[in-house]
């Protein structure tokens, strides 16, 4: 694409890539992500009440303000209108428990925007996903706020055919705050848990808000796939690897596998956080390596560590390894002399 001006003057202009530019703007991409997040927000607002919306409002306002201030202070171009900070804020809120204290949420949002994003050069240059990193920082900063697991509102339980918890009623007290993954870890057989339909509709106890309603997450993820905002490679290889591994190591139990897929942050992480552009590999081959490694890491943490859930840790680990995956899966430019090694060119 050579501009009219240089064509007129018969001048050749030499430049490095990118030579082709997509007409899709950052604002449009982020707007589509916001639309994809909408079903999750609506579903969780229905299940937990208005507190979700309050958290999102506080986080979004903090994110916009801190992005504005940090870009002023660093004398960078203002990029608030690209909506990316609002997406970060909403994904962060969906990564936290429902009654997470607001002042801690504000600290977390400021950390996500200023430390994880702006300090590394802003949108597109951050090496780690802001929401995942901030979640891990908040877990180690305010561990007690994560200890309480979120209980769906009573009105959501009306849709459940297993009120309030038949299999567990005998040991209600000891299990009253445990999530499905914690229960599975402590050796409870899947038959004693809530039914899969409950997990699917979102009537489960969870640590984070966003993991509550599996069907809303799947809807949002499919919208992103349909709109070609994300490619299928990462989410499908990630979820597929966890499915295969939990089937193999769960004693070939279909139900055990489905519990591992539908509960916890796997679906939300696979569709919304692992696919972050700047923190995932560029090539399709690299994306599949990334997804499979994510699945293996998540399964290792879930089955053999003393944590019940490992989606955020595996995403952060793989974010750090992404440049190396990129280096090994680099596509050869057409016609390049194969004898010239990588190191000689760089």
């Amino acid at each position: 694409m050579i501009s009219a001006k240089s064509q007129e003057q018969n001048h050749l202009v030499i430049a490095s890539s990118p030579h082709l530019r997509s007409p899709r703007t950052t604002t449009a991409v982020m707007g589509n992500v916001l639309i994809a997040l909408l079903p999750i927000v609506i579903a969780t607002a229905f299940i937990y009440g208005c507190r979700v919306l309050l958290s999102i409002a506080v986080a979004a306002a903090t994110a916009i303000l801190s992005e504005l201030l940090v870009q002023k202070a660093m004398k960078k171009r203002q990029t608030i209108q690209d909506l990316s900070c609002i997406v970060t804020a909403i994904i962060l809120v969906l990564n936290l428990p429902i009654d997470f204290p607001l002042w801690q949420l504000i600290i977390g949002t400021i950390f996500a925007i200023i430390v994880v994003k702006a300090a590394f050069g802003g949108l597109g240059q951050n090496f780690a996903n802001p929401a995942v990193t901030t979640r891990i920082v908040l877990v180690s900063a305010f561990a007690s706020s994560f200890a309480k697991n979120t209980e769906p509102l009573a009105r959501a339980l009306l849709f459940s055919n297993s009120t309030p918890d038949p299999g567990l009623s005998a040991s209600m007290d000891s299990y009253s705050s445990a999530t499905v993954l914690v229960l599975l870890k402590s050796g409870v057989t899947p038959e004693k848990l809530r039914t899969l339909r409950d997990l699917f509709l979102g009537i489960q106890k969870t640590t984070a808000i966003g993991e509550t309603c599996a069907i809303a997450v799947i809807l949002g993820g499919l919208y992103l796939l349909f709109k070609k905002i994300i490619k299928w490679h990462i989410p499908f290889s990630y979820i597929g690897t966890v499915a295969v591994l939990s089937f193999l190591f769960g004693g070939f139990d279909m139900q055990f596998m489905l519990y591992h897929l539908l509960s916890g942050g796997l679906l939300f992480g696979a569709f919304f956080m692992a696919t972050d552009y700047s923190t995932s590999p560029l090539t399709n081959k690299g994306k599949i390596i990334y997804g499979i490694s994510l699945g293996i890491l998540t399964s290792i943490i879930r089955f053999w560590s003393n944590l019940p859930e490992g989606v955020s840790f595996s995403i952060l680990t793989m974010n750090i390894l992404t440049p190396h995956i990129d280096r090994f899966t680099k596509e050869k430019p057409f016609g390049e002399n194969q004898q010239i090694k990588d190191n000689d060119r760089c």
């Binding site: 694409m1 050579i2 501009s3 009219a4 001006k5 240089s6 003057q9 001048h11 050749l12 202009v13 030499i14 430049a15 490095s16 890539s17 990118p18 030579h19 530019r21 997509s22 007409p23 899709r24 703007t25 950052t26 604002t27 991409v29 171009r77 990029t79 690209d82 002042w103 600290i107 430390v115 597109g124 240059q125 920082v137 180690s140 900063a141 305010f142 561990a143 552009y277 560029l282 440049p323 190396h324 990129d326 280096r327 680099k330 990588d342 060119r345 760089c346």
Partner: protein, 263 residues
């Protein structure tokens, strides 16, 4: 007089051992979670640094070049043992707080580094001044890390509670929080040094694993490394019109369209 002033003050900002020279990280991250431990560590380091600088500087013509490092280490270890025994005798609490990091002052890079880089080449007076200045710079750095970590991590300063416990941030008391605070204070010190006319430390694109992949990296590599070559190239090829901006894009845009997606 002017030189001694410069020797004394360079350890504060321009060549601050922690923030500018990045020496002695291990012990400084370990002890900087509380103000008292940092102060104890800082004073011990000042003591060892001044005395070992004096002794090494006065022996600099006696010590053969081949065995200078073992000789320096022996001198330093002697003073560290003195500090350790003194602390054990009079300030047992601080000794316990510093734990293994007190004897580890022997292998602290700051002390050996100053012995090697300064004391072995300068007269006794300057070496003592350098040790004092560097030691104070180290203590200032430790105390400023510890101020943030103790105030927000434990909610106290020198053990006195200032922020209620439920509003403290646990991660700052952990090593990860130490790294975070260190990074931010390093940025502040870089800024201060830049104000004093010292160039800021810069990370080049070569250190980045994707330097060959990313367009930004390529442009920056050309800008920093091959400036002369590129200029010559453009001059020799006089037919090519050179736009005002040094970065040229194929579609004729002078400035990158960052509004568009560039994945």
């Amino acid at each position: 007089m002017n030189k001694s002033k410069e020797v004394f003050f360079q350890g504060f900002i321009k060549e601050n051992p922690i923030f500018r020279l990045v020496l002695g990280m291990c012990s400084s991250l370990a002890v900087s979670s509380t103000m008292i431990a940092s102060l104890g560590m800082g004073v011990s380091v000042i003591f060892v640094l001044v005395l070992s600088n004096i002794v090494i500087s006065s022996l600099r013509k006696v010590i053969p070049d081949m065995v200078r490092i073992p000789a320096f280490i022996t001198v330093i270890a002697g003073f560290v043992t003195i500090v350790q025994l003194l602390l054990k005798a009079y300030l047992l609490e601080i000794n316990n707080m510093l734990g293994v990091y007190l004897p580890l002052i022997v292998v602290n890079c700051i002390i050996l580094g100053r012995a090697e880089a300064f004391a072995a080449k300068n007269s006794v007076g300057y070496a003592a001044l350098d040790g004092l200045g560097m030691g104070i710079g180290y203590t200032i750095a430790l105390l400023s890390i510890a101020f943030i970590r103790e105030l927000f991590g434990f909610g106290s300063l020198f053990g006195f509670r200032i922020i209620p416990e439920e509003y403290t941030i646990l991660i700052l008391t952990l090593p990860a929080g130490g790294f975070l605070v260190l990074g931010f204070l390093m940025a502040v010190w870089n800024k201060l040094a830049a104000l004093q006319g010292k160039p800021k430390a810069e990370l080049h694109c070569q250190t980045c694993p994707v330097a060959g992949l990313c367009g930004e990296g390529l442009i920056r590599l050309q800008k920093t490394d091959d400036v002369e070559i590129k200029d010559e190239y453009i001059k020799s090829d006089a037919n090519i019109e050179k736009p005002d901006d040094s970065v040229i894009y194929i579609d004729g845009n002078i400035k990158p369209d960052t509004e568009e997606e560039t994945i």
